[in-house]
Each structure stands twice: as structure tokens, then as C-alpha cells.
Amino acid sequence: MSRAREGTRVPAPLLVPAALGAAFLVLPVLGLLVRTPWSQLATQLADPAVGEALRLSLVSATLATALSLVLGVPLAWVLARSRARGRSVLRALVTVPLVLPPVVGGVALFLVLGRQGIVGSWLDDAFGITIPFTTTAVVIAETFVAMPFLVISVEGALRAADARFEDVAATLGAGRWTTFRRVTLPLVAPGVAAGAVLCWARALGEFGATITFAGNFPGTTQTMPLAVYLALQRDPDAAIVLSVVLLAVSLATLLLLRDRWLGRTGAA
């Protein structure tokens, strides 16, 4: 998020691929908008099931992002700053969910947290807690898939941050925890914010791990991507309308957050 200098011209060799890249990303969305049967928009929005799926999507993606922040930022610090052996192995392992097909991720979650899973069977026996097919399962599936995006962003920001500020803080007598809170975290705040946005967006669009591990039931586990997929089976027009609704809500949220976030850094 560096401020563009006045009069900076885009070098010609960058211009064409940049334009192609933008077109590649934007055109499918425009295609969706062109094909949208706008007359159906009101009917779909009035459908309580759509509102329910949308609310569930927003709530679970936000919870997944919060969980990712709580667990992912410390993990990123360990990956970026710790000198412990096996760090590169750990880094490779925590990015596995990025390359794992999400459906496989869902099955993997079953094997650990399912009723027959290693941890899940113990939870069931000891506390009578079963996770699959609940909203908790949706949040877990989304966190599993989305947290690596946050970890990678924050780790990158930590590596790019000037470690001398931390050294100075230490020489001035700040403890390691204080240094992390008062120096490191503010330093990498833009990276954390960018990572959180990536994480939230990925969680919002999550489909494969969710439908596998959490199942699909309106009100408890049916998020918008699941509703879109099932609508596609019966009524492609309805599916397009639902996709556009999801798109509009996520864009609006991101723009709103971006304004607030930029406003804050501008004031600081």
C-alpha cells in the first residue's frame, strides 16, 4: 500500500500484460453481471433462505478470520523470527492447505475431528461434543483453508519489516512481549490487515471443505457458495443471482473496511 508518486508512468513492457491481467480477472465477473436476470433479484433477496445463507456466510467467514488472526499471527512470527530447527519444514506444512483440494481437506478434518476421528471420538466420548454438521464445523473448515493466506502475508510483512526497530526497543529495555505488541505489531499492521482481508475473502468463498466436513443444511451449515452450487443444479439463473449478491456484499464489505483502514493509517 505504498503511495503512488505523482507522475509515475507505467513502463510499456508492464502495460500490456497488466491490462491483459486485469481483463482476465474482470471479464468473467462482467460476464456474470451481463447474464444476471435482474428481474429475479428482488424475489431472491426476499427469500428468507437466501438471507439466512448470506448471514451464515458473513458470520462464519468473520469468525474464521478472527480465529486465524489469533492463531495465525503468532504462527507467522514463529516462522519469520524463530531460529528453531525444522522451521522450513513447518512452513511447508502450514501451507499444505493451500495446495490440498478443499474436498480432501474436508475428509482430513473428518479423520481428526469427526465422530470417528482421533480427537473427535475423544470429544464425543468425554464431553458429548460432535463437530461435523454444525456451524462450528463450517468455521473450522473455513479456517483450515483460509488461515495459510493470513500466515503467508504476515510472515512476508515480518520479514520485510526492519528488525532494527525491535533491537532498539530491546536495548531501551522493552521485554520481548512488549516489543512484539508495541513495535512489531504496529510495524506489520498493513500486512496483517491485508492477510486478514485475503483470509476473509477465501473463507467467504469456501466450498469444498465446508460441504464435506460441515455438510449442507439451510440455517446451520448452508453458506452462500453451497446455496449457489445447489441452485446451479436446478436453476442456473437463480445461481447467478445468488453469486452476484455474494459478490456485491463481499465487495461492499471490503471497500468499507479499506476506507476505514486507510483513513486510520492516514490519520496516524
Binding site: 501451507t95 493451500l98 495446495v99 483440494p101 475428509v107 473428518f110 479423520l111 469427526g114 465422530r115 470417528q116 460432535t130 461435523p132 454438521f133 503467508i152 512476508g156 460441504i211 464435506t212 460441515a214 455438510g215 449442507n216 443444511f217 439451510p218 451449515t221 448452508q222 453451497l226 452450487y229 445447489l230 441452485a231 446451479l232 443444479q233 436446478r234 442456473p236
Partner: protein, 258 residues
């Protein structure tokens, strides 16, 4: 750098999910054998038996490559109306076949080659003691039923209505194999799937037959597609499915004859 490579790999992996395009030349019978690639879109419930029949066709015609895309019939019908290239479509019900025939994509009249009824699938040993449809009203059980958007869900709705059971499923699955997988993993106590799924599921799954299932018999139609890149091979496959050999394989897989 490694991060970027990972992201690129992810994008490529995601991009690879959708397509199952048929390439290769038309299945022209050169020296009597079929060549090229045959692409069959078939309902998820046909996975095992069609894979076997495809293997037999490949044995007969060593230069022929038979590829399958197995998914919920509705998803396949949508893909076909959106222009997915395929040679054969086999649907788990007539409604989804008519989506394809109404779009003018079928070459000739589809033929019904099998029927299927619903059956309850339970994990080995039937830990929850499921005896019939009435158990689907028990809230304390973890239960899977197909979503109403796919054929097995439509059939499930009819069967529950016929039996007068107010089902309380925990999940509405996107296709019948997804429901079966959850039984195999032991994550649900019961799922309402096709008899054929139970027959081919192997040792991890047991079946509980449902008398009311006769109220909702699924008819499986098959057709060659009008724009088939390999029409000769497509007809050969459809003929094999409709032959005595095909019928025997379908019967072994738990299907009934129309």
C-alpha cells in the same frame, strides 16, 4: 518466491478442477477398431459399473481411450447445456435427461437402461440400530439425505411422503456418493442412497431395504449427444450398456431392469 510459486500452483490446481474436455480425433473405425477419446458424462451412482464397462470397451478397442465425468446428474446436465464437450450422457432420472433433450443436445431418443430404488446405507454393524425410514425422524441421530436439487433427493422426498415420515436430516448432500462417503467414514448413522450404492460400497457399509422405496423408482436414461466428437465410439458404448453383457454388469451392481 516460494510463496508466489505456491499461489501459482494453487491457481493451476483450482483451474484444473472443472474441465474434462474430450480431445482426440473422431472414433473412426479404421481397421475395425475404435480410436480416439470417448467422453462419457454419467450420474455419480453409475461410477463403478460404468468404469468397468468402459474398461471392457477399451479392451476390445486398444486404441480407444474412455474417459468419464461422474457427478450429480443435474450438475452434468448444466455442464452440457453450457457447452461441455461429451459423447454420451447417462442420467439418474428422466428430469435431468429432459434438460439435455429439451436443449436439442441429444442424438435420437434416450433409452432407459436401468432402474434404481432407494435403500438405507448404515455403517458396518449398524451401530445406531436403524430398521427403517421411521428412524430418519430421530433427532439424536446423524443422518444424511440428498438435497432436493438432485435426483436422489427428489426420490427421497417422495419416499418420505409415501411413508409419512418427517425426516430430520443433518445434511442435504450434493450428490449420492457424497452421502455414501459420510456413511463409509462413520460420520452419519444412516443415509438414504440408491440400492446400487450399497451393493458396490464394499464392507464398510450395510444396507437396510425400504419397502416404501417402490414409490419412487428412478429410471436411468442414456443417449448419444448430438455434437459428440466421437459418435461411433459413443454408439458402441451405449450398445454395450444396453446389451446382455451390460445388463448383467448393471444387475451385479445392484441396479434393476426397466
Amino acid at each position: 518466491m516460494r510463496v508466489r510459486a505456491l499461489l501459482v500452483a494453487t491457481v493451476l490446481a483450482l483451474a484444473g478442477c472443472g474441465g474434462s474436455a474430450s480431445s482426440g480425433g473422431p472414433g473412426a473405425p479404421g481397421d475395425g477398431g475404435l480410436t480416439g477419446t470417448l467422453t462419457v458424462f454419467a450420474a455419480a451412482s453409475l461410477t463403478d459399473v460404468f468404469t468397468e464397462l468402459g474398461g471392457r470397451l477399451e479392451d476390445e478397442h486398444p486404441r480407444l481411450d474412455v474417459r468419464f465425468s461422474f457427478a450429480g446428474s443435474s450438475a452434468l446436465a448444466t455442464q452440457l447445456t453450457q457447452g461441455a464437450p461429451a459423447d454420451v450422457f447417462a442420467s439418474a432420472d428422466e428430469a435431468q435427461m429432459s434438460v439435455v433433450t429439451d436443449a436439442g443436445l441429444a442424438d435420437g431418443e434416450p433409452q432407459v437402461f436401468a432402474t434404481n430404488v432407494l435403500e438405507i446405507a448404515v455403517p458396518r454393524g449398524n451401530p445406531a440400530g436403524i430398521t427403517g425410514l421411521a428412524d430418519f425422524a430421530r433427532e439424536e441421530l446423524a443422518l444424511a439425505v440428498c438435497a432436493a436439487e438432485v435426483p436422489c433427493g427428489v426420490a427421497a422426498g417422495q419416499v418420505f411422503t409415501a411413508a409419512g415420515v418427517a425426516a430430520r436430516p443433518d445434511t442435504l448432500e450434493e450428490d449420492v456418493r457424497a452421502a455414501l462417503t459420510k456413511v463409509e467414514l462413520g460420520e452419519v448413522d444412516a443415509a438414504l442412497v440408491y440400492a446400487s450404492d450399497v451393493a458396490t460400497a464394499g464392507g464398510a457399509v450395510e444396507g437396510v431395504t425400504v419397502p416404501e422405496a417402490a414409490q419412487a423408482v428412478n429410471h436411468y436414461p442414456i443417449c448419444v449427444l448430438a455434437d459428440a466428437p466421437a459418435p461411433e465410439a459413443a454408439r458402441a458404448f451405449v450398445d454395450l450398456v444396453l446389451s446382455d453383457e451390460g445388463r448383467a454388469a448393471l444387475a451385479d451392481a445392484g441396479f434393476q431392469q426397466p
